[in-house]
């Protein structure tokens, strides 16, 4: 039994070791693995302005390659990750950030879903509260007129 499982375990471990390669060409890779790792991380957060829904790390566009090289150049020059990000944002705007920044113009984006959820919860709660607070009313007594008609009908039936 254990023997039979081994190939599967190895296969799954093998798959886990595979990581997407992105679009980074071998000639772009920095010699320093630490810097290269930082460059990859930064690149994954930057939108390719040509293909828009890809990061520059994923994109094959020429402009994405240019930006990847510039990111690496800034890192080699000693910039911090934040400085590199700012460098790109200064030129292309917040638009290039795949994760929108948290600031006054994006509050709606960040709080909107939570506000909607709270509003929905409030609506549901108040709906059921309203139903519970007003139990079905017992039917009112018959008026004298109605009782007379009822008696008459019952009598006729006999």
């Amino acid at each position: 039994m254990r023997r039979a499982l081994l190939p599967f375990v190895l296969m799954i471990l093998g798959l886990a070791a595979v990581t997407p390669a992105g679009a980074v060409n071998p000639d772009e890779v920095l010699d320093d693995p630490v810097l290269e790792e930082r460059a990859r991380d930064i690149s994954k957060g930057l939108r390719c302005v040509v293909c828009q829904n890809q990061s520059i790390d994923d994109s094959d566009a020429d402009l994405a390659r240019d930006l990847r090289l510039i990111v690496r150049e800034r890192l080699v020059a000693g910039d911090s990750d934040a400085q590199v990000m700012d460098f790109v944002v200064d030129r292309y705007g917040d638009y290039v950030l795949l994760k929108p920044p948290f600031k006054a113009t994006t509050y709606v984006l960040w709080f909107g879903p939570i506000a909607l959820l709270l509003a929905a919860v409030f609506a549901v709660v108040s709906f059921y509260r309203g139903r519970a607070a007003a139990p079905a009313k017992a039917p009112a007594d018959l008026t004298d007129e109605e009782r007379r008609r009822l008696d008459k009908l019952l009598k006729d039936d006999r």
């Binding site: 302005v49 040509v50 828009q52 020429d62 402009l63 240019d66 930006l67 090289l69 510039i70 944002v89 200064d90 030129r91 292309y92 705007g93 638009y95 709906f127 309203g130």
Partner: protein, 177 residues
């Protein structure tokens, strides 16, 4: 309460539809430039071989209203735009400076010899540094720069007769006053 339960979903639907309708009309390719009203980037670009000895520097662009045009010999839309640039050059209203983007400078020079040369100054930008400093997303792109060297407008795509007449020319006249 009863009536709201019926009206509310319809109201929500209408509001969401309006947002979608607006969304359909927006062009995702249009990215507003963050560089409007900012000074042009520091430039010190080498010349194209055989064209001139100066290239393009920041100081060349300042002093009068001018256009800065991003082009490249690889750029198909630039070929379409080129006759318009030659025409603008002929009017003498505004100097046009070129940035030969992500291009072999020799090819850029050959391209200008073949298609005509509407530019005052041209700088070579083979490694995209100047283009990225300008926040360029594609070619051609054209920037209107005022006397003080501030970017006032960015046009993405080829300049057409219409864009020149309706947008660029009035703006240049206004800025030149």
């Amino acid at each position: 309460m009863g009536r709201i339960a019926y009206i509310l979903p319809v109201a929500v639907f209408v509001v969401v539809s309006l947002f979608f309708l607006r969304g359909l009309q927006l062009d995702p390719k249009h990215i507003p430039s963050v560089l409007i009203d900012k000074p042009i980037p520091e430039l010190n670009l080498p010349p194209l071989p055989g064209r001139d000895e100066v290239g393009l520097r920041t100081a060349d662009i300042k002093g009068q209203v001018s256009l800065v045009n991003i082009f490249g010999s690889w750029c198909v839309a630039c070929v379409a735009e080129h006759p318009m640039l030659l025409k603008i050059r002929k009017t003498g209203i505004v100097p046009i400076h070129g940035i030969d983007w992500r291009d072999d400078p020799a090819k850029g020079a050959a391209w200008l010899r073949k298609n005509g040369d509407p530019y005052d100054r041209v700088g070579a930008d083979p490694d995209s540094h100047a283009a990225i400093d300008f926040g360029v997303t594609g070619a051609p792109e054209t920037f209107v720069v005022d006397r003080e060297g501030h970017i006032r407008y960015k046009h993405v795509g080829p300049i057409t007769e219409e864009i020149w007449e309706d947008t660029l020319l009035p703006m240049i006249k206004e800025l030149s006053r």
